[in-house]
């Protein structure tokens, strides 16, 4: 069991032995690349054949192209067939190139499984000919060719492993490690990655009453955008990015100078690293606000407002609270227990409960405020309704920030903090120069998680306000859901969802570099 061998440098002799055993050094460029290229070629040929040659033969000698067949499949509600073929084929090609030789077990399995799954289209068409066309007599040369080509692609990795690149151990010595991972990987590919691909397919169709109606290409996406304002939007976005970058640069440099009355290149570099975090969201928000058509643009606006305000409050409150509680407190354990409760309270239930709490005529909040002569239209006024959702979100998620920040604070190296105190640093200086820098990765992480979860807000608004009054609290997820399920417009809903995915991806990629090393512990050290 090689992976359990002790760590440390490998002596040269052992390295040669190992190389011999696994056959790593016995490969030439041809042996390495030929199978990969053969797999890609076979799948590529399969794809091209299915498009270039007729897919289905009709009785009268006429033929149908793969486009028509694919369209008919989607209209019959079997769009997953072609989506699955695409997905599996691309996966097989990626697997052929992505895995190094030492992971040839995973490579072989992935390529074979991908190629076999890619055969689903010819197989499904062959078994459901009457669905495609009542007159269909059989598969056309295109799909038969694709079937054979995919079959070849499924066999090539085995030819490589068993003959071209054969070695004493067929899959290398530690291939069973993949058996631990494969179930979870297959599960996620099937239930996360494939649905995303399928969503891409459905986003290119128009739906009527929940049934696929016709192919509209990229129209669902085009309809989201006001194409005329593109140049204005891009210009404005660049301007806002510039402004944000300038503000960050000036403020950061000024702060850096105020700290020690001198400015080094390292200071400027440190500030510059913050520029994208300010500039990209600024540009993105302006771009989306200008270019998106209503109601999508409007709903995105209020979502961004909701996310920014609630996340800002949660971060500040949660961190302050954690600072406050980061000391010897007898009640800390109990307090932490109490503060875990909101995170786990059924969110939809909290939404409905909040409806009774913010009830305008005699609800507890208004009854309390009534004693001072105030009456707040919590649920009937758009702005107050938004504030109510923000309050509930803050109630539920400030504890999350608190608990993680507290754990982070307690994990800080105490000697560093004590040393800086002994050296005469004021409480503010300790916070500014020791605690915050050490906590930065964790705080960025919480910020990222909270921001993304903010965009997921669905339960609270649907319980508290049902998105109302009007559409004042119909945040993006709720809006998107309603497009899909209330108006049965799955195509448009899918295209809107991809916009949300895009926003989330931008956020993640902006902050990923800052938090990655927090949890990605050092690689497993072993031979």
């Amino acid at each position: 069991m090689a992976q359990l061998e002790s760590t440390g440098a490998i002596p040269p002799l052992a390295r040669i032995e190992r190389a011999r055993a696994t056959g790593v050094e016995a490969t030439s460029a041809f042996r390495t690349w030929a199978p990969k290229i053969a797999i890609a070629a076979a799948i590529g040929v399969g794809g091209i054949l299915s498009f270039a040659l007729p897919a289905v033969e009709l009785k009268g000698g006429e033929t149908l192209s793969i486009d028509t067949v694919g369209n008919k499949l989607v209209l019959a509600g079997s769009g997953w067939v072609t989506a699955l073929s695409w997905f599996a084929g691309v996966l097989a090609v990626v697997a052929a190139f992505a895995f190094p030789r030492s992971e040839r077990f995973a490579q072989t399995i992935a390529v074979t499984a991908g190629s076999i799954i890619a055969m689903v289209t010819p197989y499904y068409v062959a078994t459901h000919l009457s669905v495609i066309d009542p007159d269909a007599s059989g598969l056309g040369t295109g799909l038969i060719g694709a079937w054979i080509a995919f079959g070849v692609a499924a066999v090539v990795p085995w030819v490589s492993v068993l003959w071209l690149n054969r070695s004493q151990t067929v899959f290398g010595r530690d291939w069973p490690k993949w058996l631990f991972l494969l179930p979870a990987i297959i599960w996620i590919l099937a239930l996360t990655a494939f649905p995303l691909v399928y969503a891409l397919t459905t986003s290119r169709y128009a739906f009527r009453n929940g049934r696929i109606n016709r192919f509209v290409g990229w129209d669902n996406y085009r309809r989201m955008f006001d194409v005329d304002s593109t140049s204005r939007a891009i210009g404005g976005a660049l301007l806002w990015a510039g402004i944000a970058a300038g503000v960050v640069l000036v403020a950061g440099v000024a702060l850096a100078w105020l700290n020690d009355r001198e400015l080094t290149a390292a200071d400027v570099r440190g500030v510059a690293r913050f520029i994208p975090i300010a500039a990209v969201p600024a540009a993105l928000v302006y771009l989306l606000r200008t270019i998106l058509k209503d109601p999508l643009g409007e709903q995105l606006n209020i979502t961004i407002f909701f996310v920014v305000v609630s996340v800002a409050i949660e971060m500040v409150l949660g961190f302050l609270l954690a600072m406050l509680m980061n000391r010897e407190l007898k009640a800390r354990g109990a307090l932490r227990a109490i503060l875990t409760l909101p995170i786990f309270a059924t969110p939809i239930g909290i939404g409905y409960l909040a409806r009774t709490i913010f009830y305008e005529e005699g609800g507890p909040v208004n009854a309390f405020l009534g004693a001072f002569g105030y009456k707040v239209p919590w649920l009937s006024d758009p702005d107050w309704a938004r504030i109510a959702t923000i309050i509930i979100d803050v109630w539920q998620w400030t504890p999350f920030v608190f608990i993680i920040a507290l754990a982070g604070l307690q994990g800080l190296p105490q000697d560093v903090l004590e040393a800086s105190e002994v050296d005469g640093a004021s409480a503010w200086q300790v916070l500014r120069f020791v605690t915050l820098p050490l906590m930065a990765p964790i705080l960025w992480l919480i910020l990222l998680l909270r921001t993304i979860d903010g965009f997921k807000a669905f339960d609270i608004p649907s319980g508290l306000t049902l998105g109302g009054p009007g559409r004042a609290t119909e945040y993006f997820s709720l809006f998107n859901y309603r497009t899909a399920r209330k108006f049965f417009n799955y195509g448009e809903a899918a295209s809107q969802a991809f916009l949300l995915l895009f926003i989330v991806m931008v956020l993640v990629s902006l902050l990923w570099g800052r938090i990655q090393h927090v949890y990605e512990e050092e690689e497993v050290k072993q031979v």
Binding site: A199, L324, L353, Y359, G408, D459, V508
Partner: protein, 300 residues
């Protein structure tokens, strides 16, 4: 030598001076902290308190300043009787139990295997770090993106309005939690134990099942409970894929209300029933919550 001793002595003097100042400040600070504590506890617990109060009120006591039982209003168990008479809630409770236990168990089995793989073996490409990231990416994907494709797939599989669909979906979205928690826990097990077993000729699977899994059993229980709580609370997919037969508790909570306006009593009792399960679960796994919720950033 003596200069150094002087410096230490003066520093000690400053420290003593500072510590008296600090004591005074600490006394003021502790009053402030206690006040904050009380406020926070009140703020956090108030909605739960209000939900319980609603569950013991007559409808006419709903409005106005009715905060304290027996003093401001006469409590009644009538809302609970009404709840008890509803056949649907038993069905919903059963569904939710099946869904959350099933989903948590599936996620746990897949997640434990994956976590052991990532923690114990070295992967060259994709690297272990990329594999972890890939599993974690589940945590940041907005679930609403999956409503459309899942609905269409589930309709195709004839699983609409069944608990199977919900088990599938919840297991998928909870998979990151066991992976995060257990990867770290497996890493903390001393490798020597497994090496010893290996020398004795145990197979990989035997080492995993007989040695590694028993050692991380607390982590396994915690992950299972976390997944259970999150599956129990899940509303979006329950709402999207169920009609009547497979309605879980959160959907039941939402559905009953729409038909009869804002029924304070129904909300109170249902809320109490629905939330009790995840809250008890949360209190049980309280110490591990940080790891589970934060992509395992900090050890909790």
């Amino acid at each position: 030598m003596s200069a150094g001793a002087d410096a230490i002595g003066s520093r000690r003097g400053i420290q003593i001076q500072r510590s008296t100042q600090r004591k005074r400040r600490r006394a003021l600070g502790s009053i402030f902290i206690v006040a904050m504590l009380v406020l926070i506890v009140f703020w956090t617990l108030f909605p739960f308190y209000w939900s319980l109060m609603n569950a013991f009120k007559q409808p006419q006591d709903n409005y106005g300043n009715n905060w304290l039982p027996w003093i401001q209003f006469e409590p009644t168990v009538r809302p609970w009787r009404i709840l008890w008479d509803e056949r649907e809630i038993r069905k919903a409770l059963l569904n939710s139990t099946i869904v959350s236990v099933g989903a948590a168990s599936v996620a746990l089995v897949l997640g434990t295997l994956a976590a052991y793989g990532i923690a114990r073996f070295r992967f060259n490409r994709p690297r272990n770090g990329s594999l972890t990231t890939w599993f974690l990416s589940q945590r940041v994907l907005p679930p609403v993106i999956f409503v459309t494709p899942f609905f269409l797939i589930i309709r195709e599989l004839n699983l609409i309005d069944t608990v199977w669909a919900l088990i599938l979906l919840n297991a998928t979205f909870n998979l990151p939690f066991p992976v995060i928690i257990l990867t770290q826990m497996f890493r903390e097990i001393p490798r020597e134990l497994e090496e010893a077993a290996q020398v004795d000729g145990a197979s990989r699977l035997a080492i995993f099942l007989r040695i590694a899994v028993p050692l991380v059993l607390p982590g396994i229980v915690v992950s299972w409970i976390l997944c259970l709580a999150f599956s129990w609370n899940e509303f979006l997919f329950g709402f999207a894929t169920t009609v009547t037969d497979a309605r879980p508790i959160p959907v039941f909570l939402a559905g009953g209300d729409q038909t009869r306006g804002v029924d304070f009593q129904a909300i109170g009792t249902r809320m109490a029933v629905a939330t009790s399960v995840p809250l008890i679960a949360a209190l049980m796994v309280q110490r591990y919550i940080v790891r589970g919720l934060s992509l395992g950033a900090v050890k909790g």
